[in-house]
Amino acid sequence: MVEAFAVASGKGGTGKTTSTLALGMALAEEYDVTVVDADMGMANLLFHAGLADVETTLHDVLVEGGAPVDDAVYERHGLRVVPCGTNLADFEAADPRRLRDVVAALAADTDVILLDSAATLSSRAAVLPVVLADRVVVVLEPTIPALSDGLKVQEYASSYGTDTAGILFNKVRDADAIERIAPKAERYFEGPTLTTVPASERVRAARRNGRPLLAHAPESDAARAYREAAASLTVRDGDSEAVADRFRSAVVPESP
């Protein structure tokens, strides 16, 4: 079985990478999980996962005649993590079209693929993870710009045949207000509110320490919220071969 989720927000600063890793670690208690940094232009999964010094990244796999996928897969925190590098020249040399082959190769050997997506919808490479995924998890903050951009992500996703698994409110500072805001937001999103994650200094500390939140502060309220989100996410039992075929046959054009 395998299901691919794009973790997306359309807007920067919502805590998407933190959320991707935290959801990944929480899901890993039940499933084999692979987390891929699909934000190729602004990679930061490697910093969150303590992989800043690794030699081979997704960029090295995406260049012509590049490294095999397995060289860029790292076992960390009970997950398989595929980081991107931060070198701009490597990014320019990488061909995002090859991402579908990478995802297809990973799909053969995992239950859940989480694609940490770019915080924009302005380029084909940025939208590609949303196109390739089965479902999207929309990361929101309780602000108007984040909600507005989250709605856009959902419309893009559904236009490309990708369902919404749910919404996740991050950096929540006012617990009373979110109880009023979340149900109103749910009227417009196709999926339920998976969880609301409180704003927390421990999230920032985890990031500074290069450790995922669930490793740094597993008993924090924020970590608990992510476990709640994972528990409410029913992973669909996709056929690995069919999913891999779909990725391989995804039509992605040449020009940027």
Binding site: G13, R124, R173, I181, K184, P198
Partner: protein
Amino acid sequence: MKLPEGRLLRSRVVSDPRTVLVDALDRELTGYAVFEPQDALLLGADGRGVVTFRAGVPVVAYHTGSERAGPPALADLAAEGPYRLRLFALAPADLTAVHDEDEFRVPPGMPAERLAGDQALAERTREAAPAERLAVVSNGGAEHAEPVVGEDGDDRQPGAVEAFLDDAEKIEAIREQARDEAQQRADEWGFDDVG
């Protein structure tokens, strides 16, 4: 809401309202900003948002299209950028009358939070705000400015985010625009065969 025109400091098109709020704070502007969305679709033909400032800190918000004031006006002007923005300086005395209208007021950090989604800027703005504008409450260790309310203490005024979510028509316009954009780009990018 009537304001004298004042001295024009800046007139340009910006894509992000954050730019305006940072500029006003850095200049310690006493005056007001007029936001005019380029895309009139979402706000109706003559929808303009006005935010006033004292010493760089937002005081009141008003929307000429919806004629709503306070936090709901922030929701009305939080449409899609780009905006045509004009920033005017005024003498403090010219603002007294509108600043005395309690229902027009917004908490100092709210425009940064709700329009720009920028907590750090909201914090900076609160730090710059005079103490009497900050009704500080304890909330899980974090301190937040609450809406400045009248003597009656009516703090049930819906926040800007809720007002935004209550505006089904505007949200449908955002979704429709995104759908059109996604379709158009699917053609450009050749995504149409992806399923």
